[in-house]
């Protein structure tokens, strides 16, 4: 099965799907030093997002999440790819700035039907297609 996302930041990547079961604000919700979900109220508290294909159904929370995204990228703790239920200028912008600063970037896609994503390993291609990896 192949899903198609709208490319926000182009790239290709592969990793285990990590689907957020509740909204997650990177600022106040992800520790930039460890890449783990640090909000104790989040149902997936403690999970590391590094290297995952991170699916976020809805954006939420602080505008400082761009800075947390940049810091995660600079430390090598960022997700392999970001799949957003709706386009969000905050997280994707952290990736754009990382590119300007000479860091590696990661693909970010807007995906209408995140619930249809296959579980397990997922591959994201440069044209925005998403398939089981």
């Amino acid at each position: 099965m192949v899903l198609k996302g709208r490319v926000l930041v182009a790239g290709s990547a592969e990793g285990p799907l990590l689907r957020m079961t509740a909204p997650l604000s990177f600022w106040g919700g992800v520790d930039p030093k460890t890449g783990r979900i640090s909000d104790p109220r989040h149902p997936q508290h403690g999970l590391a997002i590094g290297g995952t294909v991170l699916a976020l159904p809805e954006p939420r929370g602080s505008s400082s999440s761009s800075a947390v995204m940049l810091e995660l990228i600079a430390r090598g703790l960022a997700p392999a790819a970001l799949l957003l239920g709706e386009a969000d200028a905050i997280l994707a912008l952290g990736i754009v700035v990382a590119g300007e600063m000479g860091h590696p970037t990661l693909p970010a896609l807007e995906v209408a039907e995140l619930e249809r994503l296959p579980e397990g390993r997922v591959r994201v291609d440069i044209d925005g297609s998403i398939r089981a990896g």
């Binding site: 926000l8 930041v9 909204p23 600022w27 106040g28 919700g29 930039p32 030093k33 640090s38 909000d39 104790p40 109220r41 809805e58 954006p59 939420r60 929370g61 602080s62 505008s63 400082s64 999440s65 761009s66 800075a67 947390v68 940049l70 810091e71 990228i73 600079a74 430390r75 709706e86 386009a87 200028a89 905050i90 997280l91 994707a92 912008l93 952290g94 754009v96 700035v97 990382a98 300007e100 600063m101 860091h103 970010a108």
Partner: protein
């Protein structure tokens, strides 16, 4: 959708304004492209949320812009930093981290931003006119400037706010446009008692409910009394922008784009209506407290997120008069408000009661609270939401009067009758 740039904007991209402006314009244009904006809009002012230290990467970004000769092109205020510059030693950073936090604040100033160091720039004289296009960061400030002042900005992430300030442009989509400012959701709070709707403690809870219910949708709220003041609206917006991605709300009969429900809805039918019933409100209130139910332990109290205003300090001083707090009590504010309350003679009585005033920063973004994490009581929906993850403290939510009574007693004292 392709992005159409004006000749002046293309020239900036090609370096007419120097390399920093070109870099800033690349980032603004990229943000516009990824949000599907067809063009950029000229902005009148900016509020910059990039001066809080989250790691070295952000310092390097600001310093890169300084090295390249960057300069903001519109009046720009600065959000909180990670240091209280007026009270050295209050923030417990190791020298290296403190040094990086200071470098970031210095670079932000070097770009020409005003060193206001507050998350409530609207309390520091930065008040755009109704309908003005602006570029603001900091989620509570965005909610306030859109909702209470009726200026227009999207919720800009860190870095984009600064790039917009340097280029005097923002991606033109979303809340810059009439259609997106129309309410889609109606939250009807008229069924709650008027007594409850006149309490200070109601507004953060209403905001917490709104954010969770609305996500990023624009809501029109019915039942907010017409004389509700700015402090309550700021508390509402801050909580809604914490539990949700709310960038704009309309309080019907109160905020400038909602003289009537029909106006807020733009003449259309709402997509959804929600009635705020007492049990929903109490559930939203209870979610702001993470400390074990039934325990009355508190280790500290914090108020001032968003930064306390002059009138909030007057209310605190009146409640605290003649009391001695048994636990640390922090009130966070901007240096402008500090000057104002100093002139009003409030510092001595506040200090006598045990209020520690934190300036330029706040207790959830910098290590200020006692090193042993425990239970933090607060009247702020935003503190209640972010403190557990950012500080390790569990939270108890209460009114300002509850916070003062609890700090005096050294244990949680809450007036539960308020919520019946």
């Amino acid at each position: 959708m392709t992005l159409a740039l004006t000749a002046a904007e293309r020239a900036l991209l090609e370096g007419s304004g120097g390399p920093a402006a070109a870099m800033a314009m690349r980032i603004v244009a990229e943000a516009a492209r990824l949000m599907g904006a067809p063009s950029l809009v000229q902005v009148e002012s900016a509020h910059i949320d990039g001066c809080l230290y989250h790691g070295d990467s952000g310092v390097h970004f600001a310093e890169r812009l300084v090295e390249l000769g960057g300069r903001v092109a519109v009046p720009s205020t600065l959000n909180v930093g990670a240091l209280d510059l007026l009270h050295p030693g209050r923030v417990r950073f190791d020298p290296e981290t403190g040094g990086m936090a200071r470098r970031l604040m210095a670079a932000s100033e070097a770009l020409g931003c005003k060193p206001t160091w507050t998350c409530a720039p609207y309390q520091a004289g930065h008040r755009p006119r109704l309908g003005a296009h602006v570029a603001w960061g900091e989620s509570n400030a965005v909610a306030f400037v859109n909702s209470v002042l009726g200026a227009r900005t999207n919720r800009l992430g860190d870095f984009l706010d600064l790039c917009c300030a340097i280029t005097a442009r923002a991606p033109c989509y979303g809340l810059h446009l009439d259609d997106a400012r129309r309410a889609r959701l109606v939250v009807d709070a008229r069924g709650l008692s008027e007594r409850l709707r006149r309490l200070d403690a109601f507004y953060p809870v209403l905001g917490a409910f709104l954010g969770a219910e609305a996500g990023s949708e624009v809501a029109a709220i019915l039942g907010v009394p017409s004389d509700t003041d700015e402090d309550r609206l700021k508390a509402l917006g801050a909580a809604a922008a914490s539990t949700g991605a709310v960038g704009l709300f309309h309080a019907v009969g109160v905020t400038p784009e909602a003289p009537a429900l029909e106006t807020a809805l733009g003449g259309a039918e709402p997509e959804r209506r929600v009635e705020l019933k007492p049990d929903l409100l109490r559930a939203a209130r209870d979610r702001l407290s993470t400390a074990a139910a039934g325990s009355d332990v508190i280790d500290a109290v914090a108020v001032g997120s968003p930064h306390f205003s002059g009138s909030e300090f007057h209310a605190l001083a009146a409640l605290a008069r003649g009391r001695r707090f048994r636990v640390p009590f922090y009130a966070c504010t901007g240096r402008g408000v500090l000057t104002e309350i100093e002139r009003a003679g409030l510092l001595a009585p506040l200090k006598e009661a045990g209020v520690e005033i934190v300036v330029d920063t706040c207790v959830v973004v910098a290590p200020i609270l006692p090193p042993e994490a425990g239970v933090l009581m607060t009247n702020s929906g935003k503190f209640a939401f972010y403190a557990p993850a950012n500080t390790g403290f569990a939270t108890v939510y209460g009114s300002l009067a509850d916070c003062v009574a609890s700090a005096t007693a050294g244990r949680v004292v809450r007036d539960e009758r308020l919520w019946s």
